[in-house]
């Protein structure tokens, strides 16, 4: 039981890390926003596994819907490609 739970935790943490690295590394800012949305989605799943459903609901609302919306509206006003 505990072994499987540890494996689940490791999988989720690896995916959060890869999402964050992608968000920094990608030059296309829309792709970076999508990677950030994926990372916050998985952060919410991690809160959920740690048995804090209220925090998970808050993270879902803020991370998946609100942050993505704000970043996309900001992209609309500026450039999509990052300059070197």
């Amino acid at each position: 039981m505990t072994v499987i739970q540890a494996i689940i935790q490791v999988f989720i943490l690896v995916m959060i890390l890869s999402g964050g690295i992608l968000a920094v590394w990608l030059r296309d800012l829309l792709a970076a926003v999508i990677a950030l949305a994926g990372a916050s989605l998985l952060v919410s799943l991690e809160f959920y596994i740690l048995q804090a459903p209220d925090v998970a609901i808050a993270e879902a609302g803020i991370g998946a819907a609100l942050t993505t919306a704000i970043y996309v509206i900001a992209l609309r006003r500026t450039n999509r490609k990052e300059k070197e």
Partner: protein, 88 residues
């Protein structure tokens, strides 16, 4: 005889494996459309994984998180899609 909770944990671990495969496509998709498809797949997998976890822990309130997640992740997908087609 009722299923042991360890079954649900194994199923959830399989879901996480599929999520990793989808994250690969999120990383190397050539266009933004490919990345949104991958994000949508991860959303669906997370929602059904949350339902399975709720059965594993035996708590009702956990399923409500899944319902809210299913509706809110849709909003995020729609925002990026609207940006891509030039509306918004």
């Amino acid at each position: 005889m009722i299923v042991d909770p360890i079954t649900f944990f194994i199923v959830a671990a399989c879901f996480l494996l599929f999520m990793i495969v989808s994250m690969v496509r999120l990383g190397l998709g050539p266009t933004a459309g490919d990345r949104i498809v991958a994000l949508d797949t991860v959303n669906t997998l997370v929602v059904s994984g949350m339902i399975v976890f709720a059965a594993a822990y035996g708590e009702v309130i956990f399923v409500d998180v899944a319902i809210i997640y299913a509706l809110l992740s849709f909003v995020g997908t729609l925002y990026v899609a609207r940006y891509l087609e030039g509306g918004l």
